[in-house]
């Protein structure tokens, strides 16, 4: 309100619009104790720029040693000679806030975060020892999930009593044809392919979704005219989708009726699973479940 009052009448405005003259700086004190400073300047293109700053002044009183107080009043010298008191903007700035919270478990916390972050890269880098159960960097015999999870290959190779259902038949042949490379899963280095050759193709397949199976959904009964983008659109509304894999026939290029959707977050995946299971898409009713088999 006060700002309006202090401004010249809008009708007079035109007359003051002399390009060489700048309106004077206006300082208004607000009710909450802050000050609003409105200043004008010309920018590099010669245009008039209005800058509005709200400034809150806080006075912090501190009792210091007299020696320190005396030094505080020393005149500036060298490059700073003659400069007014207070930090100058060209030498001093305030950085972004850093949360520094010392903790004993600091290292552990940090590591978890890190591995999550560079998951794909790290995986490829440190592939030397790979657990067949959890894909971890240790021997299968030492796997902490040894008793609770079946090895990854079992699902594909042994025909899986684990609810893979009718889709399993489709699954295997494609894998043997090296479907992984074509199936939108990304490049797999040759040394990894070699290792998987000995086992069944299913293991590779398993390995693929086992990696982030915590938040991966298996969608079956997908229309054969479906596209990956369609699926992504459907699932994206529940959270960030990191990967959509739609199994396609190599010859015809048509969908084979199942897909995998990976979410960044498991809770999103759970929500999506609940909502989309039974959702009609195309002429079929989608069936959605977590890709991880029951333990």
């Amino acid at each position: 309100m006060s700002k309006l009052a202090s401004r010249p009448d809008w009708a007079d405005d035109e007359e003051f619009d002399d390009p060489s003259a700048l309106p004077p700086q206006q300082v208004t004190t607000n009710k909450d104790g802050t000050k609003t400073v409105v200043s004008y300047r010309f920018n590099d293109d010669g245009k008039r720029v209005k800058t509005t700053q709200r400034i809150r002044t806080t006075v912090v009183k501190e009792t210091v040693n007299p020696r320190v107080a005396e030094r505080r009043a020393w005149p500036k010298f060298g490059l700073e000679k003659g400069h007014p008191a207070g930090p100058s903007f060209d030498t001093t700035s305030v950085g972004e806030n850093i949360i520094f919270r010392p903790s004993v478990t600091w290292k552990k916390d940090g590591k978890e975060e890190q591995t999550k972050k560079d998951d794909p890269k790290e995986k490829l880098k440190n592939m030397k020892v790979k657990c067949r159960i959890c894909d971890g960097e240790h021997f299968t015999a030492r796997c902490p999930f040894k008793d609770t999870m079946a090895p990854m290959g079992e699902d594909g190779a042994a025909g899986g009593g684990a609810g893979a259902g009718g889709m399993n038949g489709d699954d295997a042949p494609e894998d043997k044809a090296g479907g992984l490379g074509t199936g939108g899963g990304g490049y797999v280095p040759p040394h990894l392919r070699g290792g998987a050759k000995a086992a069944s193709g299913g293991e590779r397949m398993g390995g693929k979704y086992e990696r982030d199976d915590l938040a991966t959904l298996r969608v079956t009964n997908v229309s054969e005219f479906a596209e990956e983008n369609d699926l992504r659109e459907i699932f994206e509304r529940f959270g960030r989708v990191t990967r959509v894999f739609l199994a396609k026939d190599r010859e015809t290029g048509r969908a084979k009726g199942f897909a995998f959707i990976s979410f960044a977050d498991r809770t999103d995946a759970a929500k999506a699973c609940e909502k989309i299971d039974g959702y009609g898409y195309g002429h079929l009713i989608l069936r959605v479940e977590f890709a991880k088999r029951a333990t």
Binding site: P87, T92, V94, G95, I99
Partner: protein, 339 residues
Amino acid sequence: MRPILLQGHERSLTQIKYTKDGDILFSCAKDQIICAWFSANGERLGTYHGHQGALWSIDVDPSTTLLASGAADNTVRLWDVRTGKCIKVWDFNTAVKRVEFNEDGTKLLAVTEKRMGFLGTIVVFDIVPDVDAEQTNERALTITCDESKATVAAWSYLSKYIIAGHEDGSVSQYDAKTGELLDNFQAHEVDMEIKDIQMSPDRTYFITASKDKFAKLLSARDLSPLKQYATETSLNSAALTPKKPFVVLGGGQAAMDVTKTSSRQGKFEARFYHKIFEDEIGRVKGHFGPLNTVAVDPLGRGYASGGEDGYVRVHHFEGAYWGFQYEVEREKGEESADL
């Protein structure tokens, strides 16, 4: 914790030092000037001009009247802290890598580089802690390091010993009066240069930082190793925090390797370790180059770091820092409170 960024230098920082009261921070860099900053708000008090080469080291005397600096122009200069005037120049044959005042500011040591046929030396001058007084040209003591050159040096308690860190990773103890070599201890791996030595507040023990990725706490009396802190990067600087039993380590891979790695991998962070338990308790990010020097406010209120990137970052500790305690410390505190 909002750090204050100080951009007063155009080249990489080499050393930063707080005054005894922690109110002013001095920084020197390879760009030949010294800056003085108020640590509370980052305001620059002034600059000291005169050196003709990269500055390697600075130190301020305990009364904050004199500032000493050593540079690659083969001189040590003494400055009036208040006005920025140079009041004394000592010439040497080679670059000066380290200067330090003793506890009461009456002696100054300077470590000279081994180069051009000259051996590395540690030189001591008597200082009159007065701006107007005439300073002597005479060297009170010259220690020649004929085996491995000294890279850093510091005064022990009561100015009794001079502790020197060497290029070969060993630490020497010299008698500060006679210059006699009393002891030499291979504290770090062989041929891993010691980059920094900082004394504890009472100067009875000190911390070393070396290229071998370790920082070690040693006793000044007999050079016995007390603690060690393992990191995964070569270290350039280490400091002890008063009031809380922590150490701050600064490092990062050598400047010449920086372009080969991303800043995420560069490990350009200040690392905090617990002084007693030797555990890493946290890191502070910010620099985008290795940390060349870290310094802690002698009153323990904050710390500053200077990096290869030319920035000084001044941090003031906040709640979580002061509240952090180990379980055992807390229990002990409760016990004594009950009594």
